[in-house]
């Protein structure tokens, strides 16, 4: 009952014509920011922060605008994943696996509507979870120390073997490549730079957005040039835009399961939306009756990561609001916004500033509904993108990639690095090595290494420390199970076929 009263308070703060207008503007901008390669939710929100100051918005209005941009970007990321095979941001990475094949089969609009609905389910249920569970879940962060985090990241890597390639060794090579790239930069545990060759730009390591845009978007450009515009991956068949009710109903339980997985991945500080969408996809594939169809345009393979990453976006708000620990890059930026507005997140925020917390939650619910309404009819507009001839579309994508990456740190070095990744992506595709594990290696490798190193410092190098708590042991068992199970199951299941793109 108290929750409902609080929620009413939240809506009374957030539901004025002005804030509603802000929510609509934010959702629209967010969707576009998410859809543009190179501009992810975190830099999208970061770019817009100064605008909230310029407009002189008060705390609640600023929060409404920023959260709707945040959620909008989470929705938008899927669009370029599905239509162009270029993830709009890092959590949308997994959506390329089945979304793009669906688009090639002429089911682009189905994939977009389905993923839009999945995003809504994930984000909506995660917001409900945030309302009900936030105070309880705050304690979960206290249970995760270095050993537990290490086991968690290990679990993610162990399921990589089942990724989208018929050749496990190639997945492993790709993941190792990513891990190697993750080692570049300042070593947190010794404070020493590694593989930087005295270059200050490399001190912070390689930004995964640079890697994503390079490996996907720029590599695509090279292929386009090589084939003189023929046989390009772009340019898919179009059919009538309808709402695929059957597909949505079929994926219902997938969405629910993925939401739960994504939400908990989001709640853990440091894991974030990418891990959420990855784990949701792998879990879905692991329990599916027809795992061989994944990676070839299975609608459930689109629904799972989208529900997962949007749920993780909601889950990531739990540690941010209750502990002041951001669960993802974007929540780190939102945290910054809160601090600038003189709101200090922490264990007492819910009690001290109910109007801020509940206003935020109400604005999340509002922006979610706005996004669903906006995304289903807008699908038509986005699908028209495909009717633009590739020789117009591709230079546009290239331009946006360069602008987006330059906006990250304002240095041309990142652009060179991005082109370098493009060359790498070109050769990897020629060798039929999947690029997704490279990104996951970069994304998770650093955190996995840091957790291991911290565990070793705390235990004086005693490896038994890694198995010292029930949570850690449970995660280890799941990790080993996830690694070994596919080896035995492969005999039972049909051999998956090659994915050529």
């Amino acid at each position: 009952m108290e929750t409902l009263t609080n929620l009413a308070l939240g809506f009374s703060v957030a539901l004025t014509p002005f804030t509603l207008m802000l929510a609509i503007i934010g959702c629209f901008l967010g969707t576009i920011i998410g859809a543009l390669p190179g501009l992810g939710p975190s830099n999208g929100v970061a770019i817009l922060i100064p605008i909230t100051f310029t407009l002189g918005l008060d705390a609640t209005s600023a929060l409404v605008l920023m959260t709707s941009v945040y959620y909008g970007a989470m929705y938008g990321g899927r669009i370029s994943s599905i239509l162009l095979n270029i993830p709009g941001d890092e959590p949308a990475l997994m959506t390329t696996l089945d979304g793009y094949p669906m688009a090639k089969q002429g089911k682009a609009s189905d994939a977009l509507v389905l993923s839009g609905v999945a995003s809504f389910v994930g984000a909506f249920l995660a917001t409900i979870g945030l309302i009900i569970l936030a105070p309880l879940l705050a304690r979960v962060a206290y249970l995760f120390g270095p050993a537990e985090y290490f086991a968690l990241y290990l679990l993610a890597f162990c399921t990589l073997g089942g990724m989208a390639s018929n050749n496990q060794a190639k997945s492993a090579i790709a993941a190792c490549l990513g891990l190697g790239i993750a080692m570049i930069g300042l070593d947190n545990t010794s404070g020493m730079p590694r593989f930087t060759y005295g270059n200050l730009h490399l001190m912070d390591g390689v930004d995964f957005l640079v890697a994503i845009v390079g490996l996907f978007a720029i590599a695509e450009v090279f292929f386009f040039i090589e084939s003189h515009g023929k046989n390009t991956a772009l340019g898919v068949r179009l059919e009538k835009v309808t709402i695929p009710f059957k597909m949505i109903m079929d994926s219902f339980w997938t969405m629910i399961r993925s939401t739960i997985i994504g939400f908990f991945a989001g709640v853990l500080p440091g894991a974030g939306a990418s891990l959420g969408s990855f784990m949701a996809y792998m879990a879905q594939k692991a329990i599916a009756k027809d795992p061989e169809t994944y990676g070839k345009g299975n609608p459930r393979g689109v629904a799972a990561p989208e529900a997962g990453n949007n749920a993780a976006a909601g889950g990531a708000l739990v540690p941010m609001l209750t502990l002041g620990v951001p669960g993802s890059g974007t929540t780190a930026v939102l945290l910054a916004l809160l601090m600038t507005l003189n709101i200090t997140p922490g264990p007492t925020l819910f009690a001290d500033r109910p109007e801020v917390v509940w206003g935020l939650i109400a604005s999340l619910l509002i922006s979610n509904v706005v996004l669903l309404i906006m995304n289903v009819p807008l699908v038509k507009i986005f699908v028209y993108v495909l009717q633009v001839p590739p020789w117009v579309l591709l230079p546009g994508v290239t331009m946006i990639s360069f602008v987006g990456i330059y906006s990250l740190s304002g240095s041309y070095f990142d652009l060179l690095l991005m082109v370098g990744f493009g060359v790498l992506g070109y050769f990897l595709r020629k060798l039929d090595i999947p690029t997704v594990p490279v990104i996951l290696g970069i994304l998770l490798g650093n955190q996995m290494e840091d957790s291991l190193r911290r565990a070793m410092v705390l235990s004086d190098g005693d490896w038994a420390f890694l198995f010292s708590t029930p949570i850690a042991i449970g995660l280890w068992i799941a990790a080993i199970g996830g690694f070994i199970a596919p080896m035995f199951l492969r005999k039972v299941l049909k051999k998956p076929q090659a994915i050529t793109d």
């Binding site: 901008l29 970061a46 100064p50 500080p269 930026v333």
Partner: protein, 320 residues
């Protein structure tokens, strides 16, 4: 597609137009959200509000190499820019002292001043057996491995150095034995400490305010000269017999190549901000303690700090 492109172009153009309306620029050498970003945004805003500058100050985020990218950009490319200020803190001088900015030295820029400081704190979980700083130091003297610290900076960073300074004053010289893990920010360090994975947290006052109210933690000491206004029940390290003052000051530096006149202009503006009610309120809201050193006075403070940190870093083996 036309629609998307137009909107994207519009968004980019409008961001571009914002920048033309600004006079001076403040570089925050980190992504939005950290202390440097706060420094630029608050000081920039107040300077404009109190009419110390006649146009709003534009904030640019230039993350990279823990501030090193911004530092080398200023030294190499914008050495004569009179309309440029850069946010700095103890982390800046710590890294300069440890030669972590690729060979750059502290005398390649001019430190204008600091107008507020985040006091260093040593914190334990509320259920910890350690009641005061003496307990902590005794526990480490008895068994250096028994207390692990968590902090928001990397190994060798300012958070790491704080407990080491205390231990050195207490006559404990085997400081390389002290366990420290660098996690992603102060809040994360507290989480690890409340969770029992580390025994103590070393950080800044602003990072612990929320947890202090909820009663999850106990502050063993604050590393300031006097007790901090608003937190009068927290004892200083000094009154417990450990003469350590370690604050994370918030300030600015400007390029080396500007005239003394420009240096003094920025120092005056900064002093005006320090005296303003808006800044006093911002300090209270963010857990900052008053700490005003502006102009030549500040430059000599920075030089002393760099020398001290360099020696300590040599002792723990972070630098040769």
């Amino acid at each position: 597609m036309k629609l998307i492109k137009k909107t994207a172009l519009g968004a980019i153009l409008s961001i571009g137009m914002f920048s033309t309306a600004y006079a001076a620029e403040c570089i925050a050498p980190a992504n939005p959200g950290g202390g440097w970003d706060f420094t630029c945004r608050q000081i920039g805003k107040i300077m404009y509000d109190i009419k110390a500058v006649d146009k709003p100050i534009q904030v640019t985020n230039m993350a990279g190499a823990g501030g090193g990218l911004a530092y080398s950009t200023v030294v190499n490319e914008r050495n004569n820019d009179e309309d440029l200020i850069i946010a700095a803190s103890s982390a800046t001088t710590t890294r300069l002292a440890q030669n972590a900015y690729g060979g750059a030295t502290a005398d390649q820029v001019r430190f204008v001043g600091a107008i507020g400081a985040d006091p260093g704190v040593i914190v334990v979980a509320a259920d910890s057996e350690l009641q005061n700083l003496t307990d902590l130091v005794d526990a480490i003297k008895a068994n250096p491995g028994s207390v692990a610290f968590a902090g928001g900076s990397a190994v060798g960073g300012f958070d790491h150095l704080k407990p080491l300074m205390i231990l050195q004053r207490a006559g404990f010289t085997d400081i390389t034995k002290v366990k420290y893990i660098g996690v992603d920010g102060g809040a994360d360090a507290i989480t690890q400490t409340i969770g029992g994975f580390t025994q103590a947290m070393t950080g800044d006052m602003s990072e612990i305010v929320g947890f202090l109210k909820s009663g999850d933690i106990r502050v063993l000491a604050v590393l300031t000269e006097d007790r901090v206004p608003g937190f009068e029940d927290i004892p200083t390290a000094k009154e417990q017999g450990f003469d350590v003052v370690a604050v994370n000051w918030r300030g600015l530096y400007i390029p080396k190549g500007v005239s003394d006149e420009v240096f003094n202009t920025w120092a005056d503006r900064l002093a005006k901000v320090a005296a303003s009610d808006e800044w006093k309120q911002a300090m209270v809201d963010n857990g900052l303690a008053p700490f005003t050193k502006v102009g030549g006075d500040f430059q000599s403070y920075v030089d002393g700090l760099v020398a001290e940190v360099r020696q300590l870093s040599k002792d723990i083996g972070v630098i040769q």
